[in-house]
């Protein structure tokens, strides 16, 4: 997917002025959050489960090589052909080769964010394969030629009016504002594809090391259909998705749907363990698993390791007032919201995405909801510090910070400046708010007043009142 993360400010301003987008965001993000909060409140052991999940993921990250080796061994035992891609280019090459070797011309794909990281669809299309997105949201944005704007609800930025227009233009369907009718249209169109596709492509929510299984958590049934009907199944999954034991799965299944959509359990949980065996009524004859490193090993080595605990529930997006204000596209890459603001710079390099860690008020709402307890605000702070160390801050900001720190070194100097500002402030504003300030404060006063400095700072008042001379 094309990277445009450093244009966050510009993208965000555009998003704020986009009336349709604002309407769509207003309709949905609050609902997600309310459902999540209700589901969590109804599970008394949520905190304990969260604690356990975080610990399990921590253990996985401490021994990722061991767990991955075990997973690969078990998966291969059950007929899965495992490929590992170091980077996006290699992932595309492997995907294209699999399609070519298997003789694929049509593939149905269920939702996968990891595949977006490597521009998977483009790779297959380059190899002459038609790729049809079968998740309803992904189907919609594929018709629109857009990228997902949310981890679990990729078309969350689209209104039903826009969707009906797309279906009219691309599928020749009549206009409607009924959601069930729109779903029916997509289903009719997709059914034919499922029946004729040679390959089903999926992501994977968990990789179970002791059984070699790929676990899919979905709501639409497209994931199930795409992994059992076509002759070949290709799953594209990040290496960090491994969990040690099948017995650990319930812990995560308790957290993921609740955190994502407020569901107690998703409509479908598919546990795909190898190819069709003798006597199985259905299932793929061939199963490929494409494991993506794509920067993850490097993250594992550093101070941001815990970000790899993420189970992609999107609760941090739904809780984030910045995400809610501008939507996912503003973040300029695959992942948006707080997880995107941390993960994108780590996966693509901080110089390419230094604008993202600044895109947060550090309000902490994300850390509050994260089901695996990733310290997202701490990581945002750490990345901002890295930006300074890597020379990515503007000279203006550094000069301002040095000047400010210089003043704060001496209380006397600060007091003198406060008193001058106080006199000027009172003279020009008569104690009312300031309605216009020069850059870099001009953004503040565009729609807000800035307070006038007090005529006499507290320190001075205190000295006078208590007769302190020092």
């Amino acid at each position: 997917m094309e990277l445009n993360a450093n244009a966050f400010g510009r993208n965000a301003r555009k998003a704020l002025l986009d009336k349709t987008l604002q309407e769509a965001l207003g309709r949905t993000t609050g609902r997600f959050q309310a459902h999540r909060d209700a589901a969590v409140a109804a599970l008394p052991e949520f905190e304990a489960t969260r604690e356990r999940a975080s610990r399990i993921k921590g253990d996985v990250l401490d021994h990722l090589d061991t767990y991955l080796a075990r997973f690969i061994e078990e998966a291969e035992k059950r007929g899965t052909i495992v490929h590992v891609a170091r980077d996006a280019a290699q992932a595309r090459e492997i995907a294209a080769r699999i399609a070519w070797e298997e003789g694929i011309t049509l593939a149905v794909k269920s939702k996968s964010m990891a595949s977006e990281e490597v521009s998977f669809n483009e790779a297959l299309q380059g190899a002459g394969v038609t790729v049809v997105e079968s998740d309803l949201g992904e189907f919609i944005i594929q018709l629109a030629g857009e990228a997902p704007s949310h981890i679990i609800a990729p078309a969350v930025h689209k209104t039903r009016e826009e969707i009906s227009l797309l279906f009219e233009r691309h599928l020749g369907e009549p206009r409607t504002d009924s959601i069930p009718e729109l779903v029916g249209m997509a289903r009719k169109h997709l059914r034919a594809k499922f029946l004729s596709a040679g390959m089903g492509v999926s992501g994977g929510n968990f990789l179970v090391a002791d059984t070699g299984s790929v676990v899919l958590v979905t709501n639409e049934g497209n994931g199930r259909m795409g992994t059992v009907l076509p002759r070949v199944h290709l799953a594209v999954v990040g290496i960090e998705k491994v969990i040690p034991r099948m017995a650990d799965l319930p812990t995560f299944l308790r957290l993921l749907p609740r955190s994502a959509s407020g569901q107690v359990i998703s409509s479908y949980v598919s546990i795909v363990t190898g190819t069709r065996r003798a006597g199985d009524p259905e299932g793929p004859e061939r199963m490929h698993l494409l494991l993506l490193d794509c920067g993850r090993s490097a993250i594992l080595e550093g101070k941001y390791r815990e970000i790899l605990k993420c189970i992609r529930c999107a609760a941090c997006l739904n809780s984030c007032p910045v995400y809610q204000s501008v939507g996912g596209h503003a973040y300029g890459w695959v992942y948006s919201g707080p997880i995107g603001a941390v993960l994108t710079p780590l996966l693509v390099g901080l110089p390419e995405a230094a604008a993202l860690p600044d895109a947060s008020t550090l309000c902490g709402a994300c850390a509050d909801v994260c089901p695996v307890k990733i310290p997202l605000p701490d990581f945002l702070l750490e990345l901002r510090s890295d930006a300074r160390e890597q020379g990515l801050k503007t000279p203006g900001e550094i000069a301002a910070m040095k000047g400010y720190a210089g003043v704060m070194k001496r209380a006397g100097l600060l007091e003198a400046i406060e008193r001058i500002a106080g006199v000027l402030g009172q003279f020009f504003t008569k104690g009312k708010g300031i309605s216009g300030l020069p850059y870099p404060f001009s953004g503040w006063t565009e729609r807000r007043d800035f307070p006038a400095p007090a005529a006499e700072p507290f320190r001075k008042q205190w000295k006078i009142k208590r007769g302190v001379t020092r």
């Binding site: 007032p321 309000c363 709402a365 901002r384 910070m401 720190a405 708010g433 729609r447 807000r448 400095p453």
Partner: protein, 259 residues
């Protein structure tokens, strides 16, 4: 759970006031009110005059070198014993949680930061959790709604203390706003780097405030109040911002800063 001090409850309660640079420069009435309330409940308040800024704006923007210099000065400005109380959840959280990050590679400063972090409290937290105040003895009157500052609520975990105090004031009609725990959009440097997003968030906050019909919106952080108040004053909405300390002090205190 009440904080155990190990001190004689009838003895003097030594408190150093961390007045915050923001209140010092923009709302000295908040500092005066804080002193008044602390003294009302038996604290002996001293004000270390060499204090300046805790360094949070530098820390939050990733400029740790400058933040560290300010943090060092802060740690040397405050005495080695007694409580440190501040009318700001955000500044208290900076000392408590930010300083250990700044000094993670300097064991001696780290120990000092941790020790001071143990003794620092936001005003409402100190009154309720340490002093066990149930009646703030304030004569403030009016319809009041409360905005949870992010760092007081999620940074320090202080949710109920300010509400308990507000509810205990006889003249106050306390009303909760929707989404009281949602960020007001200030975020320090965020409000300068992304002012349009910041304003969008502030507008939503102000809508929620107005929906309560309250005459006052209060909070434990001046930063939020300056931000919210800036929008209120620009549009001319019929609601005033007032710091929690000023409400607790009562109607005689801090009037010039309200609104």
């Amino acid at each position: 759970m009440p904080y155990t001090t190990g001190m004689d409850p009838k003895g003097p309660i030594p408190v150093s006031l961390f007045f915050t640079c923001l209140a010092d420069a923009f709302s000295p009435g908040v500092c005066t009110a804080t002193v008044e309330v602390l003294e009302r409940f038996g604290a002996t308040v001293r004000v270390p005059l060499s204090q300046t800024c805790c360094g949070q704006p530098a820390f939050n923007s990733g400029n740790r070198k400058e933040a560290r210099a300010m943090a060092r000065k802060f740690l040397l400005s405050f005495p080695d014993d007694g409580f440190i109380v501040t009318p700001s959840g955000s500044c208290a959280a900076m000392v408590k949680h930010g300083y250990p990050v700044l000094f993670r590679d300097e064991p001696r400063m780290l120990a000092r930061a941790r020790a001071i972090g143990e003794r620092i409290f936001e005003l409402s937290q100190f009154l309720v959790d340490v002093l066990g105040v149930t009646d703030p003895k304030s004569d403030f009157s009016g319809k009041v709604t409360y905005h949870d500052s992010c760092h007081l609520r999620r940074g320090l975990g202080v949710i109920e203390a300010p509400r308990k105090l507000l509810r205990a004031v006889p003249g106050i009609e306390f009303v909760e706003m929707e989404e009281s725990d949602r960020c007001c959009g200030f975020g320090g440097v965020f409000s300068l780097k992304y002012p349009q997003i910041s304003c969008k968030m502030t507008e939503r906050k102000v809508e929620r405030i107005l929906a309560t019909g309250a005459s006052y919106v209060t909070s434990g952080d001046l930063g939020c109040l300056l931000n919210i108040g800036g929008l209120i004053s620009r549009i001319g909405y019929p609601v005033k911002t007032i710091h929690l300390a000023e409400i607790l002090a009562g109607k005689t205190a801090g009037k010039e800063d309200a609104g």
